[in-house]
Amino acid sequence: MKPARAGLWLGLSVGLLLGLLVLGLRVGSFAIDFELMRRVLHHYDPTEPAQLVLVELRLPRLLLAVLAGAGLAVSGYLMQTMVSNALADPYLLGTASGGGLGAVLCFALLPTLTWAGVYLPPVAALLGALGTTLVVLALGMDRGQLRPAPLLLSGVAVGSLATALGGLLTFLSDTPDKLRTVTFWAMGSFERAGWNLLPYPAVALVATLVVFAFLQKDVAILLLGEERAAALGVPVVRLRWLLVVTASALTGCVVALCGPIGFVGLMIPHVTRWLLGATGRWNLLVCALLGGGFLLGCDLLARLLYPPAGVPVGIVTALFGVPFFVYLLRKQGS
């Protein structure tokens, strides 16, 4: 990959993201124009409802969408590297099902959803996601090493069990309203976004990008296959552990706050490699920017199609993702 071409795509993805951000700031129940944005930048007045909405509701929502998209795309990229398979996604280790089980446990069993001022479902979802991943890792570990095949099978089995347990609890739930909340959560949403939630995915994403900026060569080589990577001196075992732990923590964070939004982590790494090649130096960064832009665009589309609350964003990503997945399968088959 020539640096000029990488720079072009980097610039384009930043431009796309900023363009969508500005567009996203204008879509909603309050009419917000550039003049109001300018006023907010000069002197933010929270007593004016439109300014409050812009700063306290709309901007954090858009930023959460960007962070979630970037986080899922980067997680997907790392997971695909970890198993050296382009069809892997961030939910390979049962993170989504575990997060779902945690949320359902919270909705079904806890007498209150808020404790000491903390809204508990995201916390339960994070614990569920990380707990499930730990079980999958324990089951998939082979003498201290992570082998993709047993790991994938454990992920499928434990993920199915978590889904079944979540389904059982939902079924036994005393009120259909709880089912509604769980269903809505499972389809993904940014409606609960606030400035207080943003640091978690932001820190996880930035830490991941920084760590793998130093390891980008090893990551690129591992994507070519385990044996070749080992022959070239890549510490495969350690790298796999780092990949799994980082990707799981990042995915868990996103799932806890926004629900298990599908297909971003599958599609965007492919688009990145298609644009920049498999071993590009800026791959992970472009992947994050494209993922953020993609999910931001999907949220915008969801809100435009069905105002005011919007179609759950997971439905929109699936509408794009499923045809893409089929295309990938056919391409791999041929």
Binding site: S29, E56, L57, R58, E191, A309
Partner: protein, 323 residues
């Protein structure tokens, strides 16, 4: 006398007392329900009716029903309340797991409505099942029809629709007089409620939430809109959405800026709803502490207690704003 017959008289008496309390308070008079002749006892009830006729329900379904149904049940708690108010209670063969009013209903066998226990329902071989649009799925209704159980749907968008629904039940069950007495009493009670002088100023804009995460509210095309109008307020949600209970964003609610919020006591919502969505503390309802809980089974059930529900709403709307 058959023990079930004794029980049915007892059950009717208890329900009548309860209904009287609710209606007479508003100035209305509830007609007592007359007992049915001995032919309504289970042995006779099991006999197939001699004649049938074709009727059309509120959704436009054509149904063939016995002229005098002897075994009936409802799949919605509001409809069970209606049946208890209009029908001969001995003909009610079952209730659903959520039917809890009048208290006498607790003695009826339970048929699970969600998911629908088809086997148990069919085993009770009702002549007709009554339900409300949105409570029973069209799919379940179609399966019941295939199994030979007609499903009669009612639909209400106004309080007058609920009265009409009760009269319709009276006609279908051969209890026209009872239904007429009931609806006349309810209309009188409602008229008496509306005669009380309104509070000065414009009608308060009321937003009623049904669920907090995501935030679902009572839409414009629900019975709530008419009830709140009769109570002297207006539904803050004027826009009409496809769903009766649309999900709203915080931004949208800030724009609505309702004067009154229904869905829980102030203290309760302050530590849950407003803690989760602190931006919403700016709405008028929060600033003036006009945040109230409503009785769930009154608010949600379009049945014979609908006037009681309007009275409750009127009482809440008349509570003064607090600094």
């Amino acid at each position: 006398m058959h023990p079930l017959h004794l029980w049915s008289i007892f059950a009717r008496m208890r329900f009548s007392v309860s209904l009287l309390l609710s209606v007479v308070l508003g100035g209305g008079l509830l007609a007592c329900q007359s007992d049915q002749p001995a032919s309504s006892q289970p042995a006779a009830a099991a006999q197939l009716p001699a004649t049938t006729h074709w009727v059309t329900d509120d959704l436009g379904h054509r149904l063939q029903l016995p002229v005098q149904p002897r075994r009936i049940m409802a799949l919605a708690p509001s409809m069970t309340e209606m049946l208890y108010a209009v029908a001969d209670t001995a003909t009610i063969v079952a209730r659903t797991q959520v039917c809890d009013f009048p208290r006498a209903v607790a003695h009826k066998p339970v048929v699970n409505s969600y998911p629908l226990d088809l086997e148990k329902l069919v085993a009770l071989h009702p002549d007709v099942v009554f339900t409300v649009e949105g409570i029973t799925s069209q799919d379940d209704a179609a399966r019941l029809q295939q199994l030979g159980v007609p499903v009669y749907f009612q639909r209400y968008t106004t309080v007058e629709d609920v009265f009409r629904g009760m009269q319709q039940l009276g006609q279908l069950l051969g209890r026209t007089a009872q239904a007429r007495h009931l609806t006349d009493s309810l209309r009188t009670a409602l008229a008496a409620l509306q005669k009380t002088p309104p509070t000065p100023g414009p009608a308060p804009r009321v937003l009623a939430i049904t669920w907090q995460d995501p935030i679902y509210v009572y839409g414009q095309n629900t019975l709530f809109t008419d009830k709140i109008r009769l109570a002297g307020g207006q539904n803050a949600l004027q826009e009409v959405f496809a769903q009766p209970y649309p999900a709203l964003t915080r931004e949208y609610i800030l724009r609505l800026n309702p004067d009154v919020l229904l869905g829980g006591r102030f203290g309760q919502l302050d530590s849950t709803f407003f803690k989760a969505y602190p931006e919403l503390r700016r709405i008028n309802a929060y600033q003036t502490k006009r945040v109230f809980a409503v009785t769930g089974n009154l608010m949600e059930r379009p049945g014979p207690r609908v006037v009681e529900s309007v009275r409750e709403l009127q009482g809440l709307l008349r509570q003064p704003a607090q600094p």
